[in-house]
């Protein structure tokens, strides 16, 4: 066997050293990232649980010193997020179906796909400002409906993107089979393609709901927030993120505590939705693998 020269050995050692150092830095980076994020979650939960009580769910926001909870904000969020998803998700699905089943690689479809990707990451604060201009100012005031509309505009591109992605995973053989049985284009999509992709589309909708549930900035311009109980869609409506924003910046400790509790509730909700979406996605992937 040939003897390694000193130079070769030194170079080998140096290469190994670089590899070790960079690997170590990566491990450190991962550790740092996890520690930071862990700290944030720990802070969130320790403070959130401290302010947690049944009153959070049963009582509306109140004056400082008068107790109170977040019931009106929770209900307001549910209404606006629910309505936003109900408006945004079907349109998003149609866009996704258009991109995957009809438009495909046509010029117009490419434009739509590009624009949808831009909207997907557009600053949400601008969506709020936009809805303020088209639906708050002209219609005479802040309203829950305007809030829902802003959330719908944010949800739509998310659902569109996931729908397109999941429909592309539906085997062409399903479409061929349906066409060969004499189904028209709309029947192929409605009766075979969409049911086959149901789990995946549900994933997209859940992810979109998770995303808009935490949106704060657009609601500042649209539903504004409301300290009283109100389910009137034409009036300013409370929401959890806005309540957190107002309370977190307030000088009253009990409000700050409620803000932490609210933030914890939203985060738990968002994480649960994300985990649920994973299951629905796994379900559809399993079905196609079978």
């Amino acid at each position: 066997m040939k003897q390694l020269t000193a130079a070769t050995r030194a170079r080998y050692f140096r290469r190994q050293l670089v590899d070790r150092i960079m690997g170590g830095l990566c491990i450190a980076a991962a550790g740092l990232g996890l520690v930071l994020l862990g700290m944030i979650l720990w802070m969130l939960f320790s403070n959130g649980i401290a302010g947690f009580s049944l009153a959070v769910f049963t009582e509306s926001m109140a004056q400082p010193g008068a107790g109170g909870g977040l019931a009106n904000a929770i209900v307001g969020s549910l209404i606006q997020v629910g309505l936003g998803a109900m408006i945004g998700a079907p349109i998003g699905m149609m866009v996704g179906v258009y991109l995957s089943e009809v438009g495909k690689e046509s010029k117009f479809a490419q434009v739509v796909r590009f624009v949808n990707d831009i909207l997907l990451s557009a600053p949400s604060v601008l969506i709020g400002l936009f809805v303020y201009q088209i639906a708050v100012e002209p219609l005479g005031g802040f309203s829950g409906l305007a809030g829902a509309l802003a959330l719908a505009i944010i949800a739509m591109p998310i659902v569109a993107r996931t729908t397109e992605d999941i429909l592309r995973l539906v085997p062409q053989a399903y479409r061929d089979g349906a066409v060969a049985l004499g189904s028209r284009e709309n029947e192929v999509v409605r009766k075979v393609v969409l049911p086959a992709a149901f789990g995946g589309i549900l994933t997209g909708v859940l992810l979109a709901v998770a995303r808009i549930a935490g949106e704060t900035a657009p609601l500042l311009f649209t539903s504004l927030g409301n300290t009283n109980w109100s389910t009137d869609l034409t009036q300013p409506m409370a929401s959890l993120p806005i309540a957190i924003y107002r309370y977190a910046g307030s000088p009253y400790q009990e409000w700050v505590n409620l803000a932490w509790t609210g933030a914890m509730l939203i985060t738990v909700g968002v994480l649960v939705l994300n985990i649920l979406s994973r299951f629905s996605h796994a379900a559809v992937a399993g079905k196609q693998g079978g």
Binding site: K104, P171, A173, Y174, R175, D176, G177, A178, V179, A180, L181, G182, S183, R184, E187, K191, V192, P195, A196, K287, Q288, G290
Partner: protein
């Protein structure tokens, strides 16, 4: 009238090959005497700029199995997809010429391709049951075309179709289970049953056994032989042996042209053209 014709010249009379040698299999039995179901007339097909079929002429008889054979890319699958206008779904695909089914040109402008496809069933290379229950798979066609008016009729139709596809006994206890849970061979029979449920006059099969093991293949072949009593079947296959076993008529394609067509016995025992002979013996040898 007997159906198989040589592609050129047009005036060629149906070629009835005299029995010359022991037949390859029992399935390829007596000469076909049933009437023509589909008449393919000067078909040219294009995918974009590329021409996939060149002036194909062929008559497909009823109550018989017609096999399309030839190397990959020879146009046999393209022709099959012309027969139920599946090529319409491929962007850039274009078909010229006439295909007459029972005298009607299905390529003509006023024909609704969807109506054509309801009369012509198709079975694909890979089994493609829809991701729904066995029952719903069979019921898909009848529901889409409103063939039955109540649940009892539908139950009856589902059972009948599954029986015809020789699958009923294996799945009758789990009709509500997903069709994707079946074995490959069962899935292919399920798909055949799904096609049968709308009582098509013609069934097209695109290499229906290429994804199956020998036992499942034998099941499907037996089924095909049974089905041909009532339907016209066209099968594309890359397996010479399968063509010999199941078909009565064989058409040999090469580079987009129909080289020779005739009684299966004649094609395999005494092909008229050297090209056919070479292909068949090459594959067998």
């Amino acid at each position: 009238m007997l159906a198989a014709m040589t592609p050129t010249p047009e005036t060629a009379k149906p070629a009835i090959a005299p029995m010359q040698a022991p037949r390859v299999t029992a399935a390829a039995s007596a000469p076909v005497t049933s009437p023509t179901r589909i008449k393919i007339d000067h078909i040219n097909a294009f995918y974009g700029q590329k021409q996939a079929l060149f002036d194909v002429n062929l008559e497909v008889p009823d109550n018989a199995v017609t096999a399309f054979i030839g190397a990959s890319g020879c146009g046999k699958s393209t022709l099959l997809r012309c027969l139920n206008r599946m090529n319409d779904t491929i962007p850039g695909a274009r078909v010229e010429g006439q295909i007459r089914m029972d005298g009607t040109d299905i390529n003509s402008a006023e024909i609704d391709p969807v109506q054509v496809r309801t009369r012509i069933g198709m079975v694909f290379q890979k089994p493609n049951p829809f991701p729904m229950s066995i029952y719903d798979n069979i019921a898909y066609g009848p529901r889409a075309h409103k063939l039955v008016s109540n649940k009892a009729e539908m139950d009856e139709l589902v059972e009948k179709s599954l029986r015809r596809a020789a699958l009923w006994d294996e799945v009758k206890d789990r009709l509500g289970k997903s069709g994707l849970g079946l074995s490959g061979g069962q899935q292919q029979r399920l798909v055949i049953a799904r096609a049968l449920a709308v009582s098509p006059a013609v069934i097209l099969m695109d290499e229906p056994c290429s994804a199956l093991d020998p036992v499942a293949t034998a099941h499907i072949e037996a089924l095909i032989d049974e089905l041909r009593k009532h339907t016209c079947i066209v099968i594309v296959t890359h397996s010479m042996a399968q063509a010999a076993r199941v078909s009565q008529i064989t058409a040999f394609f090469h580079m987009g042209k129909l080289i020779e067509a005739g009684n299966t016995d004649q094609i395999f025992m005494a092909p008229k053209l050297d090209q056919t002979q070479d292909y068949i013996t090459g594959r067998f040898g």
